[in-house]
Amino acid sequence: MTVVQILLFLAFFLAGIGLYGLLTLRHLIKLVIALQVLGKSAVIALVIAGYSVGKVNLGQSLAVMVIVVDTIVAVIGLALALQIQRQFGTLDASALASLKK
C-alpha cells in the first residue's frame, strides 16, 4: 500500500465521519463542526490528488479555495444558529420543524 492510497483512505473515512455527524447530530453548532470535518476531507483529497500527479501547487490552490469557502459557510451557519436560538430559544435542529405542528 502506498502513501497516496493510505491518505486517500483517510480522506474517505474523514468524509464518512463528517457525514455521520450531519446525520446523527441535532445541535446546530455541532452540525457546523461536522461540516468543517467534511471540508477537511475535501482539502486532504485535493492535495493528495495533486501530489499523486506531481502538481502539488495546483492541488493546494484548489484546497485553499475549499478552506476559504468552508470558513464562510461556518460563519454564516453560526450566525443563523444564533438567530435561531433568539427566535426559538434552543439550538435543537428538530425545533425548527414547526410546520409539523
Binding site: 497516496v4 491518505l7 490552490s61
Partner: protein
Amino acid sequence: MAVYIGLAAAILSCALIALRASRLLTSIVWLATTSILTAGLLYMLRAYEAAVIELSVGAGLATVLLVIAFAMTGDEIQPLRPLVPRRLSYTLILAAVLLLLLLLPPHIESEAPASDAPFAVILWQQRGMDTVLQIALIFIGLVTLLGLLDEGRSANTEAEEDEVEETDAQTAQPSLEEEMMV
C-alpha cells in the same frame, strides 16, 4: 510510511471525538486539534501554503468563531436521540465510503516529484477568475453576516420598545381611574 499511518489515525480519532463529545467546548478543542494535524499532514505533502492557511484559518479563525458562538449561546445539554436512526445512518455512511473506495483508480502514482508552476502563478494567473470569485464570496459572506446580526439587534430593539409602551399604558391607566373616582 508509519508517520503517515499514525497521522491518519490521529486525524480520524480527533474528528470522531470532536463529534461525539458531549460538551460543546470539548468538541471545539478537538476540532482545532484535527485542524492542526491536518496542517501538519499538508506540510509533509509539500503543500506549504495550504498548510499555513489551514493552520491559521482552520485551527485559528474557525476555533475563535466557534468559541464566540459557544460563549453567546451557552452549553446546551445535548439531546440523545439522533435525527436519523443510527442503523440507517451507519448503513448510509458505509455505503458512501464504499462507493468512494470503488471510485479509487487502480493505479495511483506515488510520491511523484513536483514539477508544476509556482503556487502564486497558479493562484493569480492560471486560476485568477476563481480567486476573484472567492474574494467576492468573502464580501458576500460578510454582508450576509452583518445583515443577520443586524436583524437580530433590530428585533430586540422593537421588543424593548413594545415593553416600554406597555408599561407606559399600565402607568397611565391608574391615573384615569383616580380621576373618575374624584
